[in-house]
Symmetry: none
DNA sequence: AATGAATGAGCTTTCATTCAT
DNA sequence: TATGAATGAAAGCTCATTCAT
């Protein structure tokens, strides 16, 4: 029923060339991102998509269906891209480099095709329970994917043994998701930014090799 | 007009002993946190505070004034507590330990008196511009405070010189703010959690002393 | 513009063989009957007729035109059938038997080709004034026809002289129209049912020859 | 929760003295009667009740709740009145006179406090299934009450033995309910009208003592 | 301080109707 | 003929806010 792949949608610009359905989704993602779900009205979405509110119903059965689609693309897009990129690495790639690749790819999506991903991150906590329920599986599976990356790297001795895998995953993925909220492309190249983030994550902010948290 | 200090409010339990005004704020913070601003109605707040919607206007001039108060307490509470705690450290304390202390105190607030802080974090990005404008000063000042902590520690050689101070601050504060979204007290003690987070931040997740991000 | 005779439509089954226009009418009559005019949407009619809403306008100029057609067939069908049947009676037929025949024929339509007739009965009172105005003539003429039947039978001494012809007509026709709302073919044969109704109408429900209503 | 007895409401005029809740009900009953449920808008009801649409929700939770109340009063009012009146008859009253009394009382309600009763009669068939389900019990119980009246009178030989009790009840009650649709008080006194109806029901329209339906 | 009824603007959604294809 | 997308006017309902009591 839904032949539009997440990536295609995420890639296409808000240009007039897009189909009405796509235009609605692009506009909705942006408005949801900056205004939230509840305070974005269908009239607003319609207006920016160049149609009237009633016409939306020729493409979506309800406001919630638009939300679902935006959420789906939000996680789906990143998850698919990350998995694909990591899978393409040579078999000899170290666990650490796998994680670095995943982080780079995730950042790329969160920052460059940001509306869907950011809308997802920002809205998630405040969505009605039933909506969350419909998307929990995909999210959980993506989280599990990351956890595996960490687990394997830890097992091979590349990651510290004194850290809980769950905490690492939640902290790291949460942190890089959140970069979308403050990243400013005008401050430097994306690649340079990426390397800074990777340094912090892998080696920390401290200069020396001291242990942290001692009192 | 506003005689309630942030800390008092943040400390007081939702107990019936609280004044009506305080009860409204506590309830509002919780509802804003989990449902967002737009989808939380005054009737809902009133109901949970044990009064009717009209009565709210005996304590606040508008819904937005409640929001303002919740936001103010949200940042104000943490900022004041962190500053106080760090200021109480002996003059000889290292920059690194100052930062560690700040992180611990911030986490304590974000996790244990969470509604105001979390509501703040979650809602911020989606607030109307004028609302944000009213609170930007406090937020900026708090961010500046952190940046100074980082700057000083970097100047004294305790933090890596190859990292941008701004990126460090935004990444670290963003990351610890976000822990409020996934931290689960049932998984272990707060102190243990804190130490894990400090380890990651200061020394990273990698086991060895390699440099990160090399390709 | 309207080449379909009422009877043909009323007789034809909902079979796929019917023309699109006929299918629309049959479906509309049924939906109007069970759901009323206002709450039956053109999309609903279209769907059950196997087309889309827009296509209806190739056959009817408006929803109201469909209504008009359904109403026309509703009274027209019964009226024509009753007149024809009664006219076919031998000249010697008594007034009473004429009325009995009319009742039987009317019941046959109201019960066996029920959608048009029942839709008519049920909707009439709640139709907008202008719609009613367009059909009042036919209805009035049919009512007048019945009133004549009663008048003649009363004149010939076959009906009681102490009853107002208008009251008789309205009461009797109203009552038999209403049978469509509760008649259940599973409770017995149509003929048996007819005879019961005729008994009540002509001779009443009382067993003896007492006068009614004395206090 | 609902302290207004059906009778009180049914009796009170549309005067400004009535409470807002009552005014809404009176207006709604009238509009439902003449326009049906679906095509009567809350704005319309509100306007005639002298308030705005939103205010209705201070008194009713939904449009359907108004409908429920109107329906409840519609059957409840008549049923209660009829039962009370018949119960007040001396024990020696004949079955026939009991039925006559019931008919008179029912007509009184259907014709003189007509909006609620007529709205009920007219709308019933076209109501959504769940609405009907909520009111079926009361209706059924009232029908059963009538059926008992007929049964007893038939058992005592006062009603013809060759008629089915169910058919009698449905035909008679349906017919007198329907009088509300055509009764015109300007044509004569209510009492005179009643007596005509009673004559038809008990003794039929035929003048002689012939049996009906012979061919 | 608190209430409950009222308001008016806004919301999502439905619908009859139009029209290019 | 039929379609699907579009429109604009409603609809039922929610909500922040006001105000007499």
């Amino acid at each position: 029923m839904n032949s539009i792949s997440p990536i295609e949608v995420a890639d296409s610009p808000v240009a007039g060339g897009a189909s009405t359905r796509e235009r609605i989704l692009l506009v909705a993602a942006r408005l949801f991102r900056y205004g939230g779900y509840a305070s974005t009205s269908l009239r607003e979405i319609a207006k920016e998509a160049g149609i009237t509110a009633g016409s939306i119903y020729n493409h979506f059965a309800s406001k919630e269906e638009i939300l679902d689609e935006v959420l789906r693309i939000g996680v789906g897009g990143v998850a698919t891209a990350v998995r694909k990129r990591v899978a393409a690495l040579p078999a000899t790639t170290t666990g650490r480099e796998r994680i670095a690749t995943a982080i780079r790819e995730h950042l790329l999506h969160a920052l460059h095709q940001g509306d869907f991903t950011s809308a997802n991150v920002r809205m998630w906590a405040q969505l009605p329970a039933e909506v969350k329920a419909r998307h929990r599986a995909v999210r959980r599976s993506y989280a599990e994917y990351w956890r595996d990356l960490f687990r394997q790297a830890q097992a091979s001795g590349e990651l510290r043994a004194d850290l809980d895998v769950k905490v690492m995953e939640l902290f790291v993925v949460g942190a890089i998701n959140w970069t979308g909220e403050w990243y400013d492309p005008r401050r430097g190249s994306f690649d340079a930014f990426c390397e800074q983030v990777l340094k912090i994550i892998f080696d920390g902010i401290a200069s020396g090799p001291q242990s942290a948290g001692h009192r």
